[in-house]
């Protein structure tokens, strides 16, 4: 969504600095770049080639989780769901990650002094950490609601709490409030200037509905099946008020007003 000049895209063999295993489902890869990473915008993503894996032909899109300009690295938070992510989970320090980055348009950063809510579901929290960090740096008051099925899906809350107040909700109530994110008490009093969200489609749609009712701007990051990630295959489209747009280059972040969600 952002209109700032975006950093140049490149294909690079990034060095893996660390593979931090969070639990059996999630891990965080920190990778080092040979080029400046500070201009990466929250909400942008990378496309990773999974080497040494028989059944992954296309690259895998993964959000940029956090950026560390001082050591010129960035992090990726990944959930193991299939052969590609399974292979990535086994990578170790010193190995290379064949990556195209940074891709897509990121979130619009709110102005200093505003108060915003970030709503993440499952691994959809990934693009929100760097967003929270940037907003916090910009003097924005950040509230973060992290949702998941159960305890095992609520991860990295300490990282988020560096940049704002963290709320948790789980479907089974094993941690935080019980229920859907939209049922969380923080959602009952919608005095935010902006809502940012990323997670499963039904969750984002419910959040967008609530935001719409309260006439709050809402930006969501979509996940679509991508072949190229650079806007040329036209596979990753989503219907918008301007017709089919590519999630990889016109998004992944969209203002929900633009999406044909009721």
């Amino acid at each position: 969504m952002t209109n700032s000049i975006l950093p140049k895209k490149r294909v690079e063999d990034l060095s893996i600095i660390e593979n931090r295993i969070l639990n059996e489902d999630y891990f965080v890869l920190e990778v080092e770049s040979q080029h400046p990473v500070e201009n990466i915008v929250p909400g942008q993503f990378v496309e990773i080639l999974v080497n040494d894996s028989k059944n992954t032909f296309l690259r895998r899109p993964i959000s940029i989780y956090d950026v560390h300009p001082q050591r010129n690295t960035f992090e990726l938070l990944i959930q193991i769901v299939g052969e590609g992510t399974q292979h990535l989970s086994k990578l170790t320090q010193g190995q290379k990650l064949d990556t195209i980055y940074p891709l897509g348009l990121g979130y619009t950063l709110s102005k200093a002094g505003s108060k915003v809510l970030l709503v993440g579901g499952g691994v959809g929290i990934a693009p929100l950490l760097y967003l929270a960090k940037k907003l916090h740096q910009n003097q924005v008051e950040v509230h973060i609601l992290l949702g998941g099925r159960g305890k095992g899906n609520i991860i990295e809350t300490e990282r988020f709490s560096e940049f704002g107040k963290v709320y948790v909700s789980t479907n089974d109530g094993s941690v935080g409030e019980k229920g859907l994110v939209t049922e969380h008490s923080i959602m009952q009093n919608m005095n935010f200037d902006m809502i940012y969200s990323c997670g499963p489609d039904p969750m984002m749609k419910a959040v967008a509905r609530l935001a719409f009712k309260s006439t709050i701007e809402c930006e969501v990051s979509l996940e679509n099946m991508m072949a190229c990630g650079i806007g040329v295959c036209l596979c990753c489209v989503t219907p918008t008020t301007k017709g089919h747009q590519c999630v990889c280059t016109d998004g992944p972040v969209f203002n929900t007003r633009k999406l044909l969600w009721n």
């Binding site: 140049k8 895209k9 490149r10 294909v11 080639l49 059944n55 992954t56 032909f57 296309l58 690259r59 195209i100 679509n224 099946m225 991508m226 072949a227 190229c228 990630g229 650079i230 806007g231 040329v232 295959c233 036209l234 596979c235 990753c236 489209v237 989503t238 219907p239 017709g243 089919h244 280059t249």
Partner: protein, 303 residues
Amino acid sequence: MNLKVKIGNLELKNPVMTASGTFGYGPEFEDFIDINRLGGILVKGTTLNHREGNAYPRMAETPSGMLNAVGLQNKGVDVFCKDIYPKIKHYDTSIWVNVNGSTIEEYIETAERINELEHIPAIELNISCPNVKEGGMAFGVSCPSAVAVTNAVRKVYKKTMVVKLSPNVTNIAEIAKAVEAVGADGVSLINTMLAMAINAETRRPVLSTITGGLSGPAVKPIALRMVWQVAQAVKIPVVGMGGIMNAADAIEFLLAGATAVQVGTANFIDPTVTLKILDGIEEYMHRHGIKDIYELIGGLKLN
């Protein structure tokens, strides 16, 4: 070392081109490669009118390949001429437009508009798109209809015209000969193969359109066979494609009889792949002491 090849009246600086629908219009790759080094680029399939394309999902990953069902999404030829052409006409490479239509009239009108663009020296007449309900592949799977479109467009399009053939046929050489007879300056092949993916867990087709077009290395052996058969059958140049991922693949197509090659799906895996292929061909020629690319073209050795 000579890398130049001729197709119709047109000379390409080398035989490495990009395949339509996999390279956008060119600017999308400016961050990655120097586009002016390419032999040519094929812009996205263009139709007379704006097309929204098919509904999402349009893509499925398959063993060593992918299915797509984009359905010729594009803004129409007028937007191309007005908004896109000015941004790419300065490229120092051969820019071809991939021309499509639901009816012969649409093909004609689109080709007429493109004919007026000074810096577009050629069109690729796509009679083989498997992802549209009307026209598309229907034209490319029988000789009479392939001849009808080619003949009609030939009358209005004065520059180099290459006809893109469908692999979903019993005898592709026959169709190549038929379009050659009515004035095609070359044929390009293969377009994608009609195919399907099913999600066993949901028991649903993966694509919104049920079937789609298969591309990538999975189809390479079929494409290579078809290029070989067509090159034996026609005198006009053949542009070969289908699963080319590296220089060795490209050289195989040249040996089978292709005068130039197009790189498609590989651009998604590595946006710099076209130049790696070009460098690889040069390295191969050097290593084998080949002075002229024409020594490779059709150079398959049989005992």
